[in-house]
Symmetry: C2
Subunit: 80 residues, 2 copies
């Protein structure tokens, strides 16, 4: 199964990379940008052929390893 884990900084956590991109976009001719937040995608190919098992496995990986739950939230989406 293909599973997509999306990791974003929690609301309220400062995102200097997003700030830098926002600033660059302003400078480079996009004044309509109000805020930018940056996140990560981790696409996993799992051996498991069961959607529920794949989701559970990906959630375990995300909470234990892929996301830092102090400052980040994650979502898991089974792509099929």
């Amino acid at each position: 199964m293909k599973v997509r884990v999306t990791v974003m900084l929690k609301e309220g956590v400062l995102d200097p990379q997003g700030k830098a991109i926002g600033h660059a976009l302003h400078t480079l001719g996009f004044p309509g940008v109000e805020a930018v937040r940056v996140g990560k995608i981790i696409d996993l190919d799992l051996k498991s052929t069961d959607a529920q098992a794949a989701r559970a496995e990906a959630e375990k990986m995300a909470s234990e390893l892929l996301a830092n739950l102090v400052i980040e939230d994650f979502t898991v989406e089974v792509l099929g």
Copy 2:
């Protein structure tokens, strides 16, 4: 409008970061991982209140600045 730009390496482009994560997951007790690909999310808050205009603006930003089209593909999704 909130718009999400997703940037992934094109098929066939080597992804050393994904390989490293895959290796780490194996080592750390997840043998069911066959492949890992890593990507970026850029969430934009745009002043524009028109979904179509916001999408067009985000596509311009992505193709000009946020993605390197030689090695990366992007998708744009209007979140509302």
